[in-house]
């Protein structure tokens, strides 16, 4: 079983991280950085204002960047018949989805946390704020990954699924965003803990909701 999980994870990572269409993991990172770069242009070079609002902008940019790869998370494998072949080998949809959540997070979570460093410099965040942003991203992005895979599975096979999945993710990501960005204002551990809690709930639901969605899409 471990060998099978390793094989699935290897395939997912090489698809999402290295050689995916649309630049793999680079596209969300570049998108994230361009938002961080555009924001000072839009609001003007007011350093205190940028420092006060910059953390929230990083969170919004991270959420939107996580939406970018959604359309190639689940649907291509349903079309290729991969899920059918896995089912025949006794590999459940739940396992595949759980592995995919891990792969999806690895493909955008750590890269975004790295990209948050130059973004923080662009927005003039101080070290303390940056620390809260980084810990918040570490706690929140796994939840965003789980949510992304779940919604990708739910919208697979629908016409305009890509646009729809973006719209579905945004409202459901609001708790993570509120606690994550909220922890910047209070600077306290409680906000981060709630971010992690919201994240864990999403991670716990994802394999079952995603697995059921894939089976329903198969018809």
């Amino acid at each position: 079983m471990n060998g099978r999980i390793a094989a699935l994870l290897r395939r997912d990572l090489s698809r999402l991280l290295l050689r995916g269409r649309g630049g793999g993991a680079m596209l969300p990172v570049l998108f994230f950085l361009s938002v961080a770069m555009l924001y000072p242009f839009a609001v003007g070079p007011d350093a205190p204002l940028l420092a006060r609002t910059g953390g929230g902008v990083i969170w919004v940019a991270a959420l939107l960047a996580a939406i970018l790869p959604l359309d190639r998370l689940v649907e291509p494998d349903i079309e290729l018949g991969m899920f059918d072949q896995w089912a025949l080998r006794g590999i459940s949809e739940e396992l595949v989805i759980a592995v995919r959540v891990i792969a999806h997070w690895l493909s955008f979570g750590p890269p975004l946390m790295l990209a948050a460093l130059p973004a923080a410099a662009l927005l003039g965040l101080d070290a303390k704020t940056l620390r809260v942003v980084e810990i918040g991203l570490l706690a929140g992005t796994p939840g965003l990954a789980a949510l992304g895979v779940t919604v990708a599975a739910l919208t697979a096979g629908l016409r305009g699924g890509a646009a729809l999945s973006g719209l579905l993710v945004i409202p459901m990501a609001v708790p993570v965003l509120i606690f994550g960005a909220g922890s910047l204002g209070t600077g306290g551990a409680s906000g981060l803990a709630l971010t992690a809690a919201a994240s864990l709930v999403l991670i716990a639901i994802a394999p079952f909701a995603g697995g059921a969605a894939v089976r329903a899409a198969r018809g």
């Binding site: 060998g3 094989a7 395939r11 050689r19 269409r21 290729l80 072949q85 089912a87 025949l88 018809g219």
Partner: protein, 216 residues
């Protein structure tokens, strides 16, 4: 853990596990149309069955129900033995070279290197291993899917239009491979409107089980 699975695999090879398909009073519904009903069949090790009938009569649906991938509308299906499915989708990553796309399934199926090499040579795929799957022709993809099926070492083969896109030589090859699978105690169910030459194959005309008013 993987050592345990490996020994389990070799055990199965040594003493063939029981292989059978029993379908009782099966009905299949697509949308709000009942495609066929009261279908019963029994297959035991070594049997081959061709499901015949015109397009849309439910050949693929029958195969998917037997595979457990689609629900039966009524009736029951019980299958003993591992199931392999070959349909119009090769389940190989289009962007990957053929060799790596097949290696993914080889890793999942605990496929031995020697058998993999032998199967590839037999299907004439060796020269294509570096070619990305999306550049392969329909027939080449079909042969690649056959390699995936052989590597799975499943007892029950469900072949959905296995000859589509294959040239004369490859058709004979597919027939020989399927005949050998049955001779080794496997079961093959073939859904095709083309002739599939196999020794002692039964033919199931699915139109016999189509509902009267729908057939008209």
């Amino acid at each position: 853990m993987s050592g345990f699975l490996l020994s389990l695999g070799t055990m199965q090879e040594a003493a063939p596990s029981p292989t059978s398909i029993a379908v009782t009073d099966l009905a299949c519904r697509r949308g709000d149309r009942v495609l066929f009903s009261r279908l019963s069949l029994n297959l035991k090790a070594g049997d081959a069955l061709q499901v015949a009938g015109h397009n849309g009569i439910g050949k693929s649906s029958l195969l998917r129900i037997i595979a457990g991938l689609a629900p039966a509308f009524a009736g029951s299906v019980s299958v003993e033995g591992t199931v392999g499915l070959l349909d119009e989708r090769p389940a190989l990553d289009p962007a990957l070279p053929l060799g790596r796309a097949l290696a993914f399934w080889g890793a999942l199926d605990l496929l031995e290197e020697s058998k993999a090499t032998g199967d590839l040579a037999r299907l004439g795929l060796v020269s294509l291993l570096d070619v990305p799957v999306r550049y392969l022709s329909t027939g080449q993809k079909k042969r690649a899917a056959l390699a995936r099926l052989l590597g799975q070492k499943a007892r029950v083969w469900l072949l959905d239009e296995p000859l589509n896109g294959l040239d004369g030589h490859a058709v004979e090859l597919a027939e020989t491979i399927t005949a050998q699978h049955c001779a080794a105690g496997g079961i093959a169910v073939i859904a095709s409107h083309q002739t599939f030459r196999l020794p002692a194959m039964r033919i199931l005309p699915l139109s016999d089980f189509a509902l009267q008013e729908q057939a008209a």
